[in-house]
């Protein structure tokens, strides 16, 4: 059985293992360096305790735990404010019409504008999972538990939520968009830049990117083809997020040109369809499988459960579920359909 809970300092080794398994990413993901990761977990703990500050806004890191073994099988994060107090960089894909009345010519020119427009919106990030769990209920639990957390702590989050989806990267690790643009300004390949981004910050790297708009037509054909396209491995995640109500808009990741999905926080499906109910026991383990969460801040837990009976105010679930949530009869929980 699976449980999503806040990451703890003693999860460090296992989280590092998982972070190491993911390829180069450069964007809104986990650092691969031990110290950076330890700091991240520490900051997450403070965030769950409500001790985030203006300078260092809340960044939550959750883990997916296999309860029987205690193994960490995945991670997921929310940055309460994208950019974490610094500018959050994206390209905004836009168009200009270059027209001449005299020559009777009109031409649509696609331009990538550096943008900080998404700064301070809430950001879902750091989703990693063991490959064998891709696309399973556990995967859905891990991803959507974040929305239940947001529903429970709505005041901590922005009216809009965004997610960066990893962009195109070929089998050799080449990122066409990076090779056509970023590489020129760093003199380093994507993997190397990725290393730095774990130690420093995405903003730090982004600030070295050209401050001016980029004409799409001057990018290599491969880079142009990659604009707004997800990495094939991220497609299950992308589809899950789309079901959640996220949509690709005009924003792209500045390093790999992957799409940035956007949604109104209050319109997220999990948030809309979830309900608070009082917890009651059931000895019957049949019924519909649902997401269930409980607890505030560091006490937050989220798991899957069968639901025997769901009435207006009360919810009957197996007692094992209570234990996983650290709750008992009469406590308030939040439930959402899977």
């Amino acid at each position: 059985m699976w449980l999503v809970r806040p990451a703890r300092p003693d999860d460090l080794d296992q989280i590092l293992d998982i972070a190491g398994e993911q390829g180069a990413r450069l964007s809104s993901t986990l650092p691969k360096q031990r110290e950076a990761m330890a700091r991240k977990i520490e900051h997450s703990c403070r965030s769950f305790e409500g001790q985030a500050t203006e300078d260092a806004p809340a960044r939550f890191l959750f883990v997916l735990e296999e309860i029987d073994s205690g193994n960490i099988m995945g991670t997921a994060g929310i940055d309460a404010r994208a950019g974490n107090g610094q500018p959050f960089y994206n390209y905004r894909r836009d168009a200009l019409i270059h027209a001449s009345h005299e020559l009777g010519v009109s031409r649509r020119v696609e331009v990538l504008y550096p943008s900080h427009g998404l700064t301070d919106q809430s950001l879902l990030c750091g989703l990693t999972i063991k490959p064998e769990l891709q696309g399973t209920d556990a995967f859905e639990l891990l991803s959507r538990s974040r929305i239940l957390f947001m529903a429970e702590h709505r005041g901590w989050f922005h009216a809009r939520t965004v997610v960066e989806i990893q962009g195109v990267q070929d089998d050799d690790g080449h990122v066409p968009f990076w090779d056509s643009l970023g590489r020129h300004f760093f003199n380093m390949d994507f993997q190397t830049a990725d290393q730095y981004s774990g130690i420093l910050s995405k903003t730090f790297i982004a600030e070295l990117m050209p401050p001016n708009p980029i004409y799409v037509t001057l990018l290599s054909p491969a880079a142009q083809a990659a604009l707004g396209q997800p990495h094939t491995l991220t497609v299950p995640n992308l589809e899950l997020l789309q079901r959640e109500g996220f949509q690709a808009g005009c924003y792209l990741d500045i390093f790999d040109a992957g799409p940035v999905l956007e949604a109104r926080t209050d319109s997220l499906r999990t948030l809309v369809t979830s309900h608070r109910k009082d917890l009651h026991g059931s000895h019957d383990e049949s019924g519909e499988t649902c997401l269930i969460s409980a607890g505030e801040g560091r006490e937050f837990r989220c798991t899957l459960t069968t639901v025997t009976e769901s009435l207006e105010e009360t919810l009957k679930v197996p007692v094992q579920t209570w234990q996983r949530l650290n709750r008992s009869a009469g406590d308030t929980v939040r439930i959402a359909p899977l």
């Binding site: 027209a99 005299e102 760093f186 003199n187 070295l208 980029i214 004409y215």
Partner: protein
């Protein structure tokens, strides 16, 4: 005798033939009779001061006085960018540096600029193939510096020239193919022709306005930025010898360089002197090599005329002009004329000590300058 004089209506046929023979690459003089006729009109209005000084277009013809035909043309535009927008790319540098990342990357960048607006441009130089060599090209080009110097208040302090950029035999420009073409879907030769017909600023308005980072362009395009067409290399060399330098601006179509100089620094200007005319009836051998000749001009705004004569004609205060030369220049004994060397590194007219003096001129050696603000 070969004589520089203002372009006239009667030159239209000769001009058209020259433009036809020049073919591609001379955008300012397309083989279009109507357009050429308008240019001649414009020049006539300019010399007769019937148009605003800043709108002036000074076009000079090189006339073979024996046939009366125009065999070359050169020009000065008083100011560019007045009624249309004058575009260039400025070749500049973007530096990306981070100690933490051990990054220090320099990225050459093209910025669209209108920096030459309000500056005088030398332009439209064209010489018939039959007359190439023998210093005729030098006369045709350098006569303009004598005019610029003589009538400085009509021009900007600085003067520039746009040099033709690299294109191949088929008329393809590597920079255009990599950049302009992506924004204005047309072969370079056509765009070039259009711009000769006065549409350059319209095309420019379709071009990218944001900086272009050169590493995003192919090598073929990057390597021609700031370089001249091989046929233009001699002209560039000549201008460099006059003190013109690349000013960091390039043509937005073909990447050809813009070279510029302050008028007071132009070699022809610095080395020019004034003398009183002494019309002589003695016959003299006018046919000496270019290195031994000097340019001589009258000082008339409306009917500016320049020809060449042996440096040996220059005396301490006077210059001896054969009758026909004096007539061609429309001067008489006692009139003041201006003299400057035709070729760099050759004889320089000096104020004293004989004809072939190689000694440097100094400011005090020019007592007859009509204006004093510059020397």
């Amino acid at each position: 005798m070969l004589l520089i004089r203002p372009l006239q209506d009667k030159d239209l046929d000769d001009l058209y033939t020259m433009a036809l023979n020049a073919g591609k690459g001379l955008t300012t003089l397309p083989a279009d009779r109507e357009l050429l006729a308008r240019k001649i009109d414009h020049a006539r209005e300019t010399f007769s001061q019937r148009c605003a000084p800043e709108a002036g277009l000074y076009l000079f013809a090189l006339e073979d006085t024996e046939s009366g035909r125009a065999v070359g043309i050169s020009g000065i535009q008083a100011r560019v960018g007045l009624d249309e927008v004058f575009y260039n790319y400025r070749l500049s540098l973007t530096v990306n540096a981070s100690r933490e990342l051990d990054v220090h990357v320099r990225t050459p960048t093209l910025h669209l600029s209108n920096d030459m607006t309000d500056t005088s441009e030398i332009c439209s130089l064209l010489l018939s193939d039959d007359y190439k060599g023998g210093g005729n090209g030098l006369l045709l080009s350098r006569c303009r510096f004598m005019y610029l110097d003589e009538f400085r208040k009509h021009f900007s302090e600085k003067v520039f020239a746009e040099m033709r950029g690299v294109s191949d035999e088929a008329g393809r420009s590597p920079l255009w193919d990599a950049l302009g073409c992506k924004f204005f879907d047309m072969p370079f030769s056509e765009a070039d022709t259009l711009s000769g017909l006065g549409n350059k600023s319209f095309i420019a308005e379709l071009m990218p306005k944001y900086p272009i980072y050169l590493p995003m362009l192919p090598d073929s395009a990057r390597s021609v930025i700031g370089r001249v067409h091989q046929n233009t290399a001699p002209a560039l060399k000549m201008l460099q010898a006059e003190g013109f330098n690349f000013n960091g601006l390039v043509d937005i179509f073909d990447g050809g360089p813009v070279v510029e100089a302050f008028i007071h620094n132009i070699r022809t200007v610095r080395e020019s002197i004034n003398r009183y005319v002494l019309v002589t009836h003695k016959s003299m051998d006018l046919d000496v090599p270019p290195a031994e000749r000097v340019m001589v001009s009258n000082r008339a705004f409306r009917d500016f005329r320049v020809t060449t004569l042996p440096a040996s004609c220059i005396g301490p205060d006077t210059v001896s002009l054969p009758e026909d030369v004096a007539r061609a220049l429309q001067v008489e004994s006692g009139d003041s004329v201006r003299l400057a060397p035709l070729k760099e590194g050759s004889v320089r007219p000096t104020h004293g000590g004989g004809a072939n003096g190689m000694s440097d001129l100094s400011g005090r050696g020019r007592p007859h300058r009509s204006h004093s603000s510059w020397d």
